[in-house]
Symmetry: C2
């Protein structure tokens, strides 16, 4: 491993060009030269403590954010207080694209653990992506994937039964942790049962019962927020409705 040059260490830490999340983020496939331009754009970072909002409904939209470390949820809230969690974002994922259309954020983003994001000023991103074709295309892909992800969640909310929803949720988390180099079989949930329930369109009691059932059936081990997945094929079978 090459030696760090002391004087530039701070800037290295910030740079996209040095970021371990490159292949997950906007910088995939960029030349070194273009990476450097992106580095300039993504200068600032921001720490968000557990429980704090990165942004709220109604905030002016100025930037999108890449999760550098930590874990977020996004949600929308109805006048009568009902909450729908629309997503959980982990390292390397992009937040804030909801604000582009109206110039105002349309959902809330809350850190579920102490986190840090890269701030990507949106006007400048548009400018730079007029210059760098690959960056432009990467950004379009990120938005498109968000749409496809949302369609998957609609399928889940519209047609799946409680245990199918939870199985899909666990398999999705497992796969995303794997993609980040963590264990596919063992992880800590950063969110409460209630937040999982809101995301899946279920009440927290139903989520809890489904966890217990999966544990009884030997599919997973549960201890509070610590999850151990014991039988991935078994979970997949539940999803494909082979059960019963």
């Amino acid at each position: 491993m090459p030696q760090a040059i002391p004087v530039s260490l701070a800037s290295i830490k910030v740079a996209c060009s040095q970021c371990s999340l490159r292949e997950l983020c906007l910088s995939e496939g960029l030349s070194n030269e273009d990476l450097q331009k992106l580095d300039e754009l993504v200068g600032a970072r921001r720490k968000v403590r557990r429980g704090q909002n990165l942004y709220r409904v109604g905030d002016n939209f100025e930037a999108i954010y890449a999760v550098r470390t930590g874990f977020f949820k996004t949600d929308v809230i109805m006048e009568d207080g009902r909450e729908q969690v629309t997503g959980f974002q982990m390292t390397g994922e992009i937040l804030g694209m909801d604000g582009i259309g109206t110039e105002i954020h349309n959902c809330n983003a809350v850190a579920l653990e102490d986190s840090e994001v890269c701030i990507i000023p949106f006007a400048q991103l548009e400018t730079l992506s007029r210059e760098i074709t690959t960056l432009q295309h990467n950004f379009h892909k990120v938005m498109s994937r968000e749409i496809v992800r949302d369609h998957g969640l609609m399928m889940l909310l519209g047609t799946m039964r409680a245990e199918e929803r939870l199985a899909a949720f666990l398999l999705n988390l497992s796969q995303r942790f794997t993609a980040r180099g963590y264990s596919p079989a063992e992880f800590h949930l950063r969110m409460t049962r209630e937040e999982i329930g809101s995301y899946l369109g279920l009440k927290l009691e139903t989520v809890s019962r489904a966890f217990s059932r999966f544990q009884e059936e030997g599919l997973i081990g549960v201890q509070q927020k610590h999850i151990r997945i014991l039988d991935i094929p078994g979970l997949k079978k539940i999803l494909s409705h082979q059960q019963s």
Copy 2:
């Protein structure tokens, strides 16, 4: 009504610059010069007959489409056959953005009546939007609005009761028809009860019963697919959970 100039009539019909949907589509706010460039890009149109697919899951992604006339649904289908309708698209709305991320379409688009779309080759759209800032921004807005729309649907699917869902659906249709210069109070549904149900995460019988209930309560008039909205505030009240 001005007389048409025979020789150029066909080309006039095709052009974005002459299109009555400008303010709904990608061309909003473009200069005449830029509109002309967009016209060149959007040369081809395509007719899709009722029941036919505009594209299917797995088709190569090459273009997005603007609905010129007609009415579409998009859906995703699970291996076991369960269908989730992810949206209904009417005049001026954009279809196909699900394909950008993977270069392959991730949902099906089906015409619910004889329809016509403008074909917007995506690679060329990216090229042109590097040149025309406003076009670039319009496209980003369209994608962002799609994401926000999806979040609204998640809220509906995750937290609302059957009658709330149907009220939201009717109000949304009414508003979109209004924006297109049609009556806000009277319209024909192009989709079956089953398709409405799939979209709203309900069974067709539940949709039918909710329609009947609304009719009994004097909120709407229903005759098959013909809907007359009689009490918009009443429907809004159901949405805001004032009922019971």
